[in-house]
């Protein structure tokens, strides 16, 4: 019975549970054993208690607060922290019948594109264990790709769901800002952070998003997706217009460009119309992002001071030095770097030149998309310019790491949703295809992605048996 659970999507497993062919407890046990046997570094904690459920259990990125369960956002500064409450998303999933399978490894406070910035060690890519899984939701992506989780959730601030999904050959979606509650999600950059699904296929992503989304009185920026999320079913794309961006950008690997071009040809075969578009300001996305995100992070991370949670270093016995030493010991290199950038950008005399300018660039990028959506229904791009890179290849060069998010950063800056689906291989490694749409167009993006997924027929999950 149970070995073939590995071959089923989460939706198919839920059908078997509903039909009484397998119990929720059996499914939970199966995945708990798979998760406990993980050798990629994808998990930081695996559930001990079998809670069954009418849906398969979900692997949850470490930064989601789960009551009584270690939730450290991949940081040593929250080592041992067990929150007294659960994130709204976790509560929503439980209410829908999906329990927490485990907590997945991530870049510390979601700052990174390779999961090498975790305070608890890196994650290996199941396609090639010498390579990164992407990040920051690298543990969630690797777990789904390796078959140690049926599905997972992550967060995306500048690409942290879509880029690891791309590098691991799974589906990942960043919803519209406000579609999903951020309550109980350990904050990185509050004007950008969104929770979303990482799954084996588009149908699973739609199901998970349907349970995640919704207005939450505990997050005043949450709206939900007004029309809800239906199961995607489109077979054709007739009448839909796709704007292609980014294939000519510097740094796109030839193999990635080839796979993306072949996918664009499939869009046409399905009846879609293709048009080249330009997003002239989007190429400044990384520059604006590396002001806005660190600035917001420097404020959000001020709370980690050794007073309310996490370890404390009070060797000097004085309050200020307790703060300074606790933060010195607890934060990793990348987090310190971003706090420094953010604090500098917000400091007296620099605010307007950096933060003020970056917010104007944000307006320009949002206008680029608005102009594009007057001509096309969707914007499509490579998700990542490259396939998964070698572990250690970019750790010495922060800027090279930042540029890994070149194609994924403009969407959160504009607040719009986007999905990455696997579209083929280059050098034996997965390539992701990104589809972005206007705010709250998730149902249409999922439908288009579903039709395309059927046409691509990607069978790449390298389930480690």
């Amino acid at each position: 019975m149970s070995d073939d659970l590995l071959d089923l999507t989460a939706a198919q497993q839920a059908q078997r549970i509903a039909a009484g062919e397998v119990s929720g407890e059996e499914v939970f046990d199966f995945w708990r054993e798979r998760a406990a046997a993980d050798e990629l570094g994808a998990y930081l904690w695996v559930a001990e208690e079998n809670r069954g459920g009418t849906l398969p259990p979900v692997a949850v990125k470490d930064l989601f607060c789960v009551e009584g369960v270690p939730s450290a956002a991949g940081s040593r500064i929250l080592e041992g922290y067990r929150p007294p409450y659960s994130a709204t998303t976790v509560r929503n999933l439980r209410a829908a019948g999906a329990q927490v399978l485990g907590k997945t490894n991530q870049d510390e406070f979601a700052m990174g594109s390779s999961t090498e910035n975790s305070g608890y060690g890196p994650v290996q890519n199941p396609w090639d264990r010498t390579r990164v899984p992407g990040g920051s939701s690298g543990g969630s992506a690797a777990a789904v790709a390796a078959g140690s989780a049926p599905w997972a959730i992550g967060t995306d601030t500048g690409g942290s769901i879509r880029q690891p999904a791309s590098l691991c050959g799974v589906v990942g979606m960043k919803p519209t800002y406000g579609a999903v509650s951020r309550y109980g999600m350990i904050a990185f950059a509050s004007s950008l952070d969104q929770c979303g699904p990482l799954t084996r296929d588009v149908t699973d992503a739609a199901i998970l998003l349907g349970h995640l989304q919704g207005r939450d009185p505990c997050d005043s920026t949450s709206l939900g997706i007004p029309e809800g999320v239906a199961l995607p079913s489109a077979e054709r794309l007739d009448g839909l217009r796709f704007g292609v961006w980014g294939l000519e950008e510097e740094g796109v690997e030839p193999g990635v460009a080839d796979a993306v071009r072949a996918t664009i040809a499939k869009l046409e075969e399905l009846g879609g119309a293709i048009k080249e578009i330009d997003l002239p300001n989007a190429r400044h996305g990384i520059a604006a992002y590396y002001v806005i995100a660190p600035a917001e992070a420097s404020a959000n991370l001020a709370r980690y001071d050794g007073v309310r949670y996490g370890p404390r270093d009070e060797a000097d016995g004085n309050l200020t030095s307790m703060y300074e030493r606790t933060r010195h010991d607890g934060f990793g290199d990348e987090v310190k770097r971003r706090i420094m950038i953010g604090t500098y950008a917000l400091s007296s005399g620099y605010y307007e030149a950096y933060y003020g300018t970056a917010q104007k660039v944000r307006t320009k990028i949002a206008r680029d998309f608005r102009a594009a959506f007057e001509q096309v229904d969707f914007v499509v791009t490579p998700t990542s310019a490259t396939v998964a890179f070698e572990l250690g290849a970019r750790t010495a060069d922060p800027l090279a790491m930042y540029l890994a998010d070149y194609f994924t950063v403009p969407m959160p800056l504009a607040g719009i949703p986007a999905i990455s689906i696997p579209c083929g291989l280059s050098e034996g490694l997965p390539v992701g295809f990104q589809i972005a749409g206007p705010a709250f167009s998730e149902p249409r993006i999922l439908d288009a992605a579903y039709a395309l997924e059927q046409a691509i027929g990607f069978e790449g999950v390298p389930v480690l048996r």
Partner: protein, 97 residues
């Protein structure tokens, strides 16, 4: 672009102690990042409004109805140190407490 003194100043603002090695490494690293950041000045931003929130939302106020909050002991449970129903910290002045 960012020198050692600025690094020390910003670290003080951010309440982070840096090791000598970090103080040596930060100026070139942060300067390189800021150099890239400044490419955004190539864009003509004359008359452009800044975006502080991507979704057009107006604050919706709920009725102010009292309800029980998290019990104090529960909120203190994860603290490194607590006493008399509060978080305990070292003395702000001098060493020792």
């Amino acid at each position: 672009m960012i020198d050692r003194d600025q690094v020390l100043h910003v670290a003080r603002l951010a309440r982070i102690e840096l090791s000598e090695e970090e103080i040596a490494r930060m100026p070139p690293e942060l300067s390189k990042i800021l150099e890239h950041v400044e490419t955004m000045n190539e864009i003509d931003l004359e008359g452009v409004e800044p975006t502080s929130h991507v979704v057009d939302l107006v604050n919706v106020l709920r009725d102010d109805v009292p309800r029980p909050s998290m019990p104090r002991e529960r909120a203190l449970e994860q603290a490194p140190d607590s006493a008399d129903g509060g978080f305990r910290v070292p003395s702000p002045g001098g060493s020792g407490s």
